[in-house]
């Protein structure tokens, strides 16, 4: 790790003024200002879709801004490329890892800046440097392992190590703690403290208040691509930050959802998956109730509901739907049994982006006589039904012939939700329902879930967002490393208890 300790006596390390960026039809950034000082940890705070990712990509040189000025270390920077950014000391650690899965850790560390002579790689030297760096960082990472053989947390460590190889003056961290445990997060925070003392500037992207409290010197709040305000972390309150981020009062974020538990609709006993991501899980969900599952990214909560729906192979255990055992689960059969799944990744698993909204919404019901008879589509009926549903969900603009690809995240989720209204369903499995959605749409999603529960459905919500899953659930399971770490209801359902359960499980796992 090579940190440039020469202090810039005048002015900030990084200074962005009036940065705008447009993608086809979407204004991602609208005249945003940002300045970061050397030795400061500056948090970029905002909801998903606020423009945080776009802004840091501009800083890292991934693409140029449409307008605005960019000064680094006092100099004006134009035509920045990722390579040049790295050369001048800007090091990004992205959320979507920039690692090549089929290469090893050390090969990835040096990607783009290999040590070579005349085109031939000097592998031994790179291995030495890689090991030195990893040792310095205190990570338990094996440089000779292939990246796709690593756990998500280790992949993140590799990503961080990659960013710290070479000269670093400004480090950008994009939601780095999403998949780290308390202990690993603690180590990351230590590392950050060290970097600050070495006068490295840090941009830390997050939408979690805890981290701001622990780390930030200043906070810049973004919303809908605009710079809302920059504040001193110490001088701001939580509710002030949330209000700036969402544009709404904090207590209006989650609707009050009545709890009227009926019979058990989903019952899972000793479930273990073939790939081991879920182990010996006992779980149940009742009608008229929201059952939440919280946990870190990669803990197995998504896999659990995917297995119920039929997307993950089951090695052992029993799943019962409405009392009857459900074997050989498959999406088609699940739908017929009244179980629907709403995937976390709408782009890869949810929508066919170049097809019209109408076709996307009706994808799950083409087996029903109301939509097709003897294999022939009833296109008139389809159009009327889907249009009515989209109207009910307040899809704006309401044209259902537009292709799904031009819709915002919130509208895309509405198209997915539309599927809930096209057939008789009693169990709803939501996987990260509010990821990539702006605040307004989020509230509509929560309202929708509320209506489902009020109508007597069993709703299961899987979420990595602790505030969300705490507020929505009537009963909350916490998963860690593939097992249930806790089941919390009522007054026990607190953030502290959730976090405490990770730690406990971690300990017991080590002893075993």
């Amino acid at each position: 790790m090579d940190t440039n300790t020469e202090a810039t006596p005048t002015g900030p390390l990084l200074e962005l003024k009036g940065i705008s960026k447009r993608f086809t039809g979407v204004r991602a950034l609208d005249r945003v200002d940002l300045d970061v000082r050397a030795g400061e940890l500056h948090v970029l705070f905002g909801e998903n879709g606020a423009g945080k990712s776009t802004l840091i990509n501009v800083v890292a040189g991934t693409f140029p801004p449409d307008e605005g000025t960019f000064r680094f270390g006092g100099e004006e920077i134009r035509h920045l490329t990722p390579q040049r950014a790295r050369a001048i000391g800007i090091s990004p650690v992205f959320q979507e890892f920039s690692l090549v899965p089929s290469l090893t850790v050390e090969e990835n560390l040096f990607l783009g800046r290999e040590i070579s002579s005349k085109g031939v790689l000097r592998a031994r030297e790179m291995r030495k440097r890689a090991q030195a760096l990893i040792g310095e960082l205190g990570f338990d990472l094996d440089p000779s392992k292939r990246v796709d053989d690593l756990s998500r947390a280790h992949q993140q460590m590799a990503e961080i190590a990659k960013a710290l190889l070479g000269r670093v003056r400004l480090l950008i961290l994009d939601e780095p703690t999403a998949s780290l445990t308390e202990r690993e997060t603690g180590r990351l925070f230590e590392l950050i403290a060290r970097l600050k003392s070495q006068n490295v500037g840090l941009i830390y992207v997050s939408h979690r208040l805890r981290e701001i409290r622990a780390l930030a010197d200043r906070v810049t709040v973004l919303r809908d691509g605009r710079h809302i305000r920059t504040l001193d972390a110490a001088a701001s309150t939580d509710s002030e930050l949330v209000e700036l981020m969402t544009g709404r009062k904090i207590d209006l974020l989650f609707p009050a959802i009545p709890h009227k538990p009926g019979k058990v609709l989903v019952d899972v006993e000793n479930l273990t998956l073939v790939d081991g991501s879920v182990r010996d899980v006992n779980f149940h969900a009742r009608a008229g109730e929201i059952t939440g599952i919280a946990g870190l990214v990669g803990c197995g909560k998504s896999e659990l509901i995917r297995a119920i729906y039929g997307l993950e192979p089951i090695a052992g255990g029993v799943v019962r739907i409405d009392g009857a055992p459900y074997e050989f689960a498959a999406p088609r059969r699940s739908l017929k049994h009244g179980v629907a799944y709403f995937p976390a990744n709408r782009i890869s698993e949810g929508l066919a982006l170049s097809r019209p909204i109408r076709e996307n919404a009706s994808m799950t019901v083409l087996d029903l006589p109301s939509f097709a008879r003897f294999g022939v589509l009833r296109q008139g009926a389809e159009r009327t039904t889907i249009a009515a549903i989209m109207e009910q969900l307040q899809l704006r603009p309401p044209n259902i012939e537009r292709i799904a690809g031009v819709l915002s995240g919130g509208n895309r989720q509405k198209v997915m939700l539309g599927r809930a209204l096209t057939r008789d369903l009693t169990v709803f499995l939501f996987d990260e329902p509010s990821v990539g959605i702006d605040v307004g749409a989020k509230i509509e999603v929560y309202e929708f879930i509320k209506r489902l529960v009020e109508a007597g459905a069993a709703v299961i919500v899987v979420s990595s967002e602790l505030p969300e899953v705490l507020a929505l659930s009537n009963r909350l399971y916490v998963m860690h490393n593939g097992r249930i770490a806790a089941e919390l209801t009522g007054a026990d359902k607190t953030e502290q208890n959730v976090l405490a359960s990770f730690f406990k499980n971690h300990l017991t796992a080590e002893v075993a």
Partner: protein, 339 residues
């Protein structure tokens, strides 16, 4: 994670077999089985003439397959290799004939210019392929579909379909049909190509970047790797190697022919790559295994001949075995990811 393999030493022969197969894949096992089987069945199989024949043909295929493998690893496809083989053959022969007419007797110049012309046109086609894919962003499949037709056309145009004679004796008898230490020259060339490509893959910047681009092109871009340059590079290498094969074939056959290579060689090169572990998704593959695969395919064809399987039925066997090999690999991959 992968401690399963080392933590529990296999107690049975089956367990040992499975763990070895898991590490190096099915192919070498199949190859050994094939060779052993054939040797037991037909004595002619391990006769010296047959072995030399196999080695020579495998060499030709291996050279083309190496280039194809590189292109596929980087995420592309080269359908034009067969046509390039033909074009190079024709161009080399024509050039040699023309230069021989101007500088009779000066064999070095004649051969050098012929080889240069052949490799040169291969390079040209590769450049066109690479630039279209990299700059125009059209898929490799389509671009090389087009250049395949165009290149074949050019080759036929130059010769009007007739073989081209007039190459120096020393080129044909002294090189193409010669043997060094009992092995055909083609084998040495192939060995050299495979070794150099292996080295390039493992130890050079170019090789590393080809894997990176094929494995995760966004990561490569963000890391500052020059995507365009490397894509052009892979297509250029592929075409030059195809041209090299064309030249070797010409030296062996004794004349330039537009019928060499062709669709058959192109399909075989891709089959060799795929069976040799190159993933059509990109980012994965090693040329040494591709070479074994080329050897396997050649021996397979040879075996079918020797077994007097009707030459007309042979493609059937080839087809079935190829699909079976890849399907088996798919299934074993699925099982691996479950551990």
């Amino acid at each position: 994670m992968s401690t399963a393999l080392t933590a529990a030493p296999p107690h049975t022969a089956a367990g040992l077999g499975r763990s070895i197969a898991g590490r190096i894949g099915f192919l070498p096992v199949l190859l050994v089985a094939l060779v052993a089987g054939m040797s037991a069945i037909d004595a002619q199989f391990y006769g010296i003439i047959n072995i030399l024949n196999i080695l020579r043909n495998a060499s030709f295929l291996a050279i083309v397959a190496c280039g194809q493998a590189l292109v596929i690893i980087a995420g592309g496809f080269d359908l034009s290799v067969g046509a390039v083989v033909a074009l190079a053959s024709v161009v080399t022969a024509k050039t040699m004939a023309a230069v021989a007419a101007t500088f009779p007797g000066n064999n070095t110049v004649i051969i050098a210019s012929g080889v240069a012309a052949g490799l040169g046109c291969g390079f040209a086609v590769g450049l066109v392929n690479g630039l279209c894919v990299a700059k125009l962003k059209v898929s490799g499949f389509v671009v090389t579909l087009g250049t395949m037709s165009a290149t074949a056309g050019v080759g036929l145009m130059i010769t009007s379909g007739i073989p081209v004679y007039g190459m120096p004796e020393v080129f044909v008898k002294g090189f193409g049909r010669a043997q060094v230490f009992g092995l055909p020259t083609a084998v040495y060339v192939a060995l050299a190509v495979v070794l150099v490509t292996m080295f390039a893959q493992r130890r050079t910047l170019f090789g590393r970047y080809v894997y990176a681009i094929g494995g995760n092109v966004e990561a490569a871009v963000v890391s500052g790797v020059s995507i365009q340059r490397h894509i052009v590079g892979t297509y250029a290498v592929s075409s030059v190697l195809a041209a090299l094969t064309g030249i070797l074939l010409t030296a062996q056959v004794g004349s330039g022919q537009a019928s060499l290579g062709g669709d058959r060689m192109m399909l075989q090169s891709i089959a060799a790559a795929v069976i040799g572990g190159v993933s059509l998704r990109g980012g994965v593959g090693r040329v040494e295994i591709v070479t074994i695969s080329a050897l396997f395919l050649t021996i397979l064809g040879n075996a079918l001949n020797l077994l007097h399987i009707d030459s007309r039925l042979q493609p059937v066997f080839l087809g079935v075995i190829m699909v079976a090999a890849v399907a088996l690999d798919e299934l074993s991959q699925r099982r691996k990811s479950r551990v």
